[in-house]
Amino acid sequence: MKILKLVFKNAFRHKLRSFLTILGIAIAVIAFGVLRTVVTAWYVGVEATSANRLVTRQAVSFIFPLPFTYRDKIQQIPGVSQVTFATWFQGVYIDKNQFFARFACDAETMFDVYPEFLLTKKELETFKREQNSCVVGEDIAKQYKLKIGDVMPIEGDIYPGRWEFVIRGIYKPRDKTTDATQMMFHWNYVNERMKKESPERAGDVGWYIVKIKDPSKAGIISKQIDDLFKNSNAETKTESERAFAQSFLASTSAIITAMNILSFVIIGIILLVLGNTMIMSARERTREYAVMKTIGFSGSHLVGLIMGESLIISIIGGALGLTLTFPLIQGLEKVIPKGFFPVFEIEPITVVLASLAALLIGVLSSLSPIQRALKMKIVEGFRFVG
């Protein structure tokens, strides 16, 4: 008989208690994994940003437009290699629950500035040529079973009326963090209709995306852009694309922080649960530890026995939790609207953190019973009545 066999036998001496503790750890790991996945999914937009892109928006608020005429002026600033722009369109596709990003863009330059959106040459050429065409991300095409040539009717809200766009391209994401849930169409197409229906809104652009040659000059170029439009009717605020994406998260930062804290609180709770189980187990075995010490087992043997038992329970619980987290996240990904979390999957760091947490729980929860067993005098152990 090896000592490991004794550790296993001890771990499952009270089958129901061990099962419930393992289940508790598994549920905690699942909760931890899901919360961490939501948090990382929230930050995917930030991770997908590029260091050589700046975003110029209205200084007062993102919701106010900028004049189309700014484009050429920004283009003249030294260090700027290309300028594109976009306008938030929103609208309703099928019904209000079908959320994904829909915006009007400059078809000529958009895909040059965003090389991570992969379109075939033919698709790009067709998209550029046809004013009423649109491009959708691969995930959206899959979700709504769309193909090239299909018409996507959008009921406008910010831009009222019925809009119809013909799909001429389905882009693929270059990177894991690239959002493949967007729909883009011609700003010109929207603008021409605005000229007729709401002339005061014609020529408005939502924001500019400025591609720069040297990311280290982002600060200087941002200042130059903003200085250019100082004291105008539409002052600008230019920042790195990363800062721009982070500003979107600022309003939800309290929720994200709460989720982050909660994920670790769960680990703390389960630490107490397993700690309690281990203390109970070790207390019940006080006489056995006294017998083992009497026979000649050393302190290190008892450390191995108690910590081993705790680790077995925590590792099985952790492994079970992680195993169940993957299908659960996949299920959640199907349920959550595509546009809400463009990338919703378990990051390797989440797996590492959950595994480490399970191991740490196993070690920490055994410390108190170990200390008690080591300090216990043999004669006191024999007098113990559990």
Partner: protein, 223 residues
């Protein structure tokens, strides 16, 4: 026969709420090799305390204990644990078997501290279980055995490492008359046939009859 156990001027007192309670008073005692020595006395007389001191699971307040020329009162905890593993076999009143282990595994427990091969361990365990007459119950768990059988497994566990001394604390205290007689016959056999030095503590005169020497303890004094 030379003395295998020499207890010299041993005193032991416990402290309870800052009061020192004397348990053993200046005990001196020699036990010869191969002896079946019985310590008798009423509850609270200090007999178990003296047994614990000789077995190296407790430390005296004063005095020395020599076991085959080793002063065990001078050993630290870790050395004492190794010494116990090599020299002492224990039999407890309440058997103290590990409930999740079979009779075979319980007997094998002390051998986990040795470097014997698996085959050698098997040979030792089977021999020990054979001596106590439980070869047919080696894969039974303690809850599947009677009290007498459990105590016989405990004796097999005590002798499996072939220790110098076998200490038994009220080995028949939790058994019915027949089982108690069986255990006493077994201990007697171990003493006579296998030449084991046995130190037994009991308050049962019937149990003490098997011993070759009997001493009485009364309120911490050897009389």
């Amino acid at each position: 026969m030379p003395a295998i156990i020499e207890v010299k001027n041993i005193s032991k007192s416990y402290t309870r709420d800052s009061f020192a309670i004397p348990v053993l008073n200046n005990i001196t005692l020699d036990i010869e090799e191969g002896e079946f020595f019985c310590l008798m006395g009423p509850s609270g007389s200090g007999k178990t305390t003296l047994l614990n001191l000789i077995a190296g699971i407790d430390k005296p307040t004063k005095g020395n204990i020599f076991i085959k020329d080793t002063d065990i009162t001078m050993l630290n905890e870790s050395s004492l644990a190794k010494w116990r593993a090599n020299n002492i076999g224990f039999v407890f009143q309440f058997y103290n078997l590990i409930p999740v282990l079979t009779a075979y595994e319980n007997v094998e427990l002390p051998l986990m501290l040795t470097h014997l091969s698996k085959a050698e361990k098997k040979q030792h365990v089977e021999a020990a279980l054979n001596v106590v007459g439980l070869s047919d119950r080696m894969f039974h768990y303690p809850k599947q055995l009677s009290g007498g059988q459990e105590q016989r497994v405990a004796i097999a566990r005590a002798i499996v490492t072939d220790p110098l001394i076998l200490v038994a604390d009220e080995p028949t205290g939790d058994l019915d008359k027949n089982s108690a007689t069986e255990i006493l016959i077994l201990l007697d056999r171990l003493n006579k046939e296998f030449k084991k030095t046995i130190l037994m503590v009991t308050h049962d005169p019937h149990a003490a009859e098997k011993a070759s020497k009997i001493r009485h303890l009364e309120k911490g004094d050897l009389i």
